[in-house]
Amino acid sequence: MTTINTKSEIIRNPGVEFQQERFCNLKINLSAVEDRCAEYAKRRSIKKENQAAWLLKVISLIDLTTLSGDDTIARVRRLCRKALNPINEKTKGLLNLDKVNISTAAVCVYHEMLSAASPILKGTGVHLAAVSTGFPAGLSPLPLRIEEIKYSVEAGADEIDIVISRRHVLEGNWQELYDEVKMFREACGDAHLKTILATGELGNLTNIAKASVVCMMAGADFIKTSTGKEPTNATLPVSLVMIRMIREYYESTGYMVGFKPAGGISDTKTALQFMTLMQEELGRRWLEPDLFRFGASSLLGDIERQLDHFTSGYYSAAYRHPLA
């Protein structure tokens, strides 16, 4: 079986020393950023074969997620199986992709659900991510937050989605933010670290830019927009600012850091705007799962329906596609 992802190893971002000058003068202009974001969908068109291809790619970038108080073992198992078989065999056949292994990038759950997911995903290539560090508010005691990471890694998570302490951003305690993320990174060991900025709670784009830089300096493998629990989730302007910081960090250090928008991305149109944003700002390499993820739960269903439309010419009903 082949996969649809291009393989090429990247050097994991080890982080750099805390350097104030990397971010202290940053100033982001909201109106200009919004003007730019209004253009992505209008300046680039993704249709037909291209659209099908881009959507298949989107599937391979999804961290299929469930983060609810009522998650159960059965629910998580169903999610994992869907992650391994995101599109039905018939569509796959019509797309001539029988021999291609298509799965989502990862499954993302709370720590307590790892034991349900781990046996199913082991050896499949689908990563297992756990949200951590007192998700979503991140206000439990620091030693416990660090322990939580270690627990999850032990339980089979190879990706850890941590939440940053928003108060450090809002109070301008950048050094503390850096130190905290660095501790989280150390606790992760070989597991990859995604830092959730909770952008909806950071006040403005300038804070988002600064927090992005500090997290990358501290060794984040990914920077991620939201928990999905804030009042506003992944928006294009927020994403553009974070992506620009990733580019700047890459250009000055040589380390490639990934981006994960999460929350609120539930239809193909929005997903393709994010894809275009990445393609335009960072280029093709950043459209691989080691550098780009979608945190999403219902997006997959909409993609399936679009692919169905592509193969049949008709729009499908949701109930014809297996529930995640």
Binding site: K42, S45, E49, L56, K57
Partner: protein, 792 residues
């Protein structure tokens, strides 16, 4: 079907907009267009024709018939006939017509966008998302002004028949900019689209009937430069509105000189894009894309001259180069492109040759790859390592070519930005409100954008200063270009008959020397350069006084002094008002003396002289009052931000006065000009030139800074010639004979100064509605629109 390759590339689709209905529309008209006059399409088999091509594939789309003199006569006659009833049509009815045009354009937006792209070569995305929606917005906005004209502009009336000549870079949008305010205010138009891009205008013509535009209100004629020249110079036209190159603008100014026509010119530019080191550089890069690669850089206000603070120059240039790699060129109908085709082969050749020749003077060229094999696609380009002396920094290229140089300090940035003959627009990029709000007013341009570029709206005035032309389009300030004040009929004032200023009078008149009055230049009384003087006479024929005969050098000195006095504009409006009040106070003390002089010199009765004097004092009070009340506006454009419309002084104004009411006319011209912050060179009417010079001793004691008011006497024809030809004089107001007006308007083309010319007796200065008010203040100012988006 295998998707694997698509997955590997993740490329965009070539998404061609369907041009079928546009092509069908063309063939419905046999791909040939004549003229649209009095509501009818007119064809003439024998007419000379011009081919209209699609620049992105060089295929012929249609042909147009060239309008000759006879056709233009017919079009102007039709417009004249329609104007009488259209100007009397009530505002609400006119509003309904404009609204209907807006609606109809909206309904046909798709086909108009496609036609525009086929004809001009611009990306369909721009036609669809910018040109046509903005055109629609102009009709809606001006429908509103038609509705409100009765109440909001009640002191004004329509101008009459307007000749409008529009360019090829925004064919439909410019049509909307020109036609909507003109017909909203009750004028009728004869408009000539550019010969290379007439198709959307023809489409618009067929909408006119459906919209209920009365026959003759909108007439559209086709043709090239000659047709435009004939139209502009046509004696039946009351006003000419032109958008295009500075060279053609000059020619129009010249050909209409002395015809008494109103004129607006929206011309070329070399707009500065000023980046400070605290700007959001990634956003600046996108700003650059919008500023210079929007519409292939074929934009009069394109940000074509990037000035960047030295400390971030390398970083910004690196980012721009990197960004250029993701620009896409291609078929103009492809929705996935950023850059389409230049408008024509000749434009392509011109841009190529300007760049090629310019590079011989140095500079480093960096270009995008030639992504589009089409002949007229010019790749986005930047040129670094060039300074203000480089021809590519000075000349307008009118293509996708950006020149980049650096500055050290804010002061230097302003100096370099203003170091150009043009003054259409500029943008300033800084995240510091203190820098942005300080720099914006100091950039000499009609439009300034803060942290953005190339934003437009119908509610905001657009237009230039210096050699970028004069007049505004959009906003309330734009309406006055299509209005004239309603004047009361007045009786002509009597002017005494005595010889004009001439040094040869010395010999013919018995010498009974009263006094010799010197010029007033730079706060000092100075003698004439050539030493010549001549007598002015009292009404009884005796000598009133001797006054100097000024020459070229005296005007040069006076203008130099006026330039030195420019800091007057920085004085607070309150401060200027205080100076005017003090001047009035000092002058009023000398009432008896001035009344006697007026009686003696002009021969009026004592009570008439008293009336003139008292009105003069009142007039100074009027402008002292206005000094801090002629406010700008905050325009309501559809974005999160505010557009500030700022009336700014013009600069140095030459004032050429009539003979009658010599004290009052002097003050009526000088006071509004200086109240708004201008400095002036005043040329008194020859016959009573001594009166204005008698004011000098009052001026000297009234705290008026040196250079703000300068007075030179001399022969009117010589003085007006020297003033109109002086490059540092930004405007001339002239009351004079027809020949003098013609000469003033002709000579003014050198630096395209604003002229405001009148025949000698066009008003009675004693009457408030004629002798004072906002009409004078609008002439003393030009509106700068500062776009200020905000939000964090």
């Amino acid at each position: 079907m295998t998707l694997e390759k698509y997955i590997k590339d993740l490329d965009y689709s070539v998404a061609l907009e369907d041009d079928k209905s546009a092509m069908e529309w063309l063939s419905k008209y046999g791909s040939r267009f004549g003229q649209f006059i009095e509501g009818e399409f007119l064809f003439d088999k024998k007419a000379e024709v011009i081919s209209v091509t699609n620049p992105s594939n060089s295929k012929v789309l249609a042909e147009i018939e060239v309008a000759d003199k006879k056709v233009i006569d017919a079009a102007v006659a039709a417009a004249r006939k329609a104007q009488e009833s259209w100007s009397k049509t009530d505002g609400h009815s006119r509003a309904k017509v404009l609204y209907a045009l807006g609606r109809l354009i909206q309904k046909h937006a798709r086909i108009i966008s496609v036609l525009e792209t086929l004809d001009n070569g611009k990306p369909i995305r721009e036609s669809r998302d910018a040109d046509i929606p903005l055109a629609i917005r102009h009709f809606y906005h001006h429908a509103g002004w038609a509705q409100l004209q009765d109440t909001e502009l009640r002191d004004h009336q329509s101008v009459g028949v307007i000749a409008q000549i529009i360019p090829w870079n925004f064919p439909f949008l410019m049509l909307a900019w020109k036609i909507s305010p003109a017909i909203a205010m009750g004028n009728t138009v004869v408009i000539k689209p550019a010969e290379s891009t007439p198709l959307t205008a023809m489409f618009f013509a067929q909408l006119c009937e459906e919209a209920g535009v009365p026959k003759g209100v909108i007439n559209i004629i086709n043709g090239a430069g000659n047709t435009g020249a004939l139209l502009a110079a046509h004696e039946g036209v009351d006003k000419v509105a032109f958008t295009g190159s500075t060279a053609v603008g000059r020619a129009i100014r010249k050909s209409t000189a002395g015809q008494g026509k109103k004129l607006t010119l929206e011309l070329g530019g070399k707009s500065a894009f000023v980046v400070f080191d605290d700007a959001d550089l990634d956003s600046v890069v996108e700003g650059v894309v919008n500023a210079i690669w929007y519409n292939q850089g074929e934009v009069c206000c394109a940000g074509s001259r990037l000035l960047v603070q030295a400390s971030v120059e390398d970083k910004l240039v690196y980012k721009i180069k990197k960004r250029m790699k993701t620009l896409r060129g291609g078929n103009s109908l492809d929705k996935s492109i950023d850059i389409g085709s230049l408008v024509s082969e000749s434009q392509f050749k011109q841009v190529s040759s300007i760049v090629e020749k310019g590079l011989k003077h140095g500079g480093e060229l960096f270009q995008c790859e030639r992504l589009n094999p089409d002949a007229n696609y010019y790749p986005p380009s930047i040129i670094t390592d060039v300074d203000s002396s480089h021809p590519l920094v000075q000349e307008e290229i009118f293509g996708p070519v950006l020149v980049i140089s650096s500055f050290r300090t804010q002061d230097e940035a302003i100096k370099l930005a203003n170091n150009t003959r043009y003054g259409l627009s500029a943008s300033v990029w800084s995240e510091n409100i203190n820098i942005a709000m300080d720099v914006a007013p100091k950039l000499i341009a009609g439009v300034v954008w803060i942290n953005c570029h190339n934003k437009f709206d119908a509610a905001c005035g657009f237009g230039g200063v210096k050699e970028s032309g004069f007049g505004r389009e959009g906003g309330k300030e734009g309406l006055y270009e299509y209005l004239k004040p309603i004047k009361l009929k007045h009786e002509k004032t009597k002017v005494k008959s005595s010889p004009p200023l001439n040094s040869s009078n010395e010999k013919t008149v018995p010498s009974k020397i009263d006094r010799t009055l010197k010029f007033y230049i730079g706060g000092k009384q100075t003698r004439p350069d050539a030493g010549g003087s001549a007598p002015t006479f009292n009404a009884d024929g005796s000598i009133a006084a001797w006054v100097g005969i000024g020459n070229r050098k005296d005007i040069r000195n006076a203008v130099a002094a006026a330039c030195k006095g420019r800091s007057w504009a920085k004085k607070s409006a309150h401060g200027r008002a205080q100076v005017l009040y003090f001047f009035a106070e000092n002058l009023s003390v000398r009432r008896d003396e001035f009344v006697d002089r007026l009686v003696m010199t002009t021969g009026v009765s004592k009570s008439a002289a008293q009336g003139e004097f008292d009105t003069t004092i009142s007039r100074i009070f009027t402008y002292a009052a206005w000094a801090d009340k002629f406010d700008g506006a905050a325009h309501n454009a559809p974005y999160r931000g505010v557009t500030i419309a700022l009336p700014e002084p013009i600069g140095v104004i030459g004032l050429i006065a009539p003979d009658e009411q010599p004290l009052l006319n002097a003050i009526s011209l000088i006071a509004p000009a200086i109240a708004m912050g201008n400095t002036v060179v005043f040329i008194p009417g020859e016959l009573n030139a001594n009166i204005a010079l008698e004011l000098v001793s009052v001026l000297e004691t009234s705290d008026i800074p040196a250079g703000v008011i300068n007075i030179v006497t001399g022969e009117k024809s010589e003085m007006s010639k020297q003033l109109s030809g002086h490059g540092e004089v930004e405007a001339v107001w002239c009351w004079g004979e027809k020949e003098i007006i013609k000469e003033v308007e002709e000579i003014s083309v050198e630096n395209l100064k604003r002229t405001w010319c009148h025949e000698n007796d066009d008003r009675n200065w004693l009457i408030k509605s004629e002798g004072e008010g906002p009409e004078f203040l609008r002439q003393a100012t030009q509106v700068k629109n500062i776009w200020t988006p905000y939000g964090d």
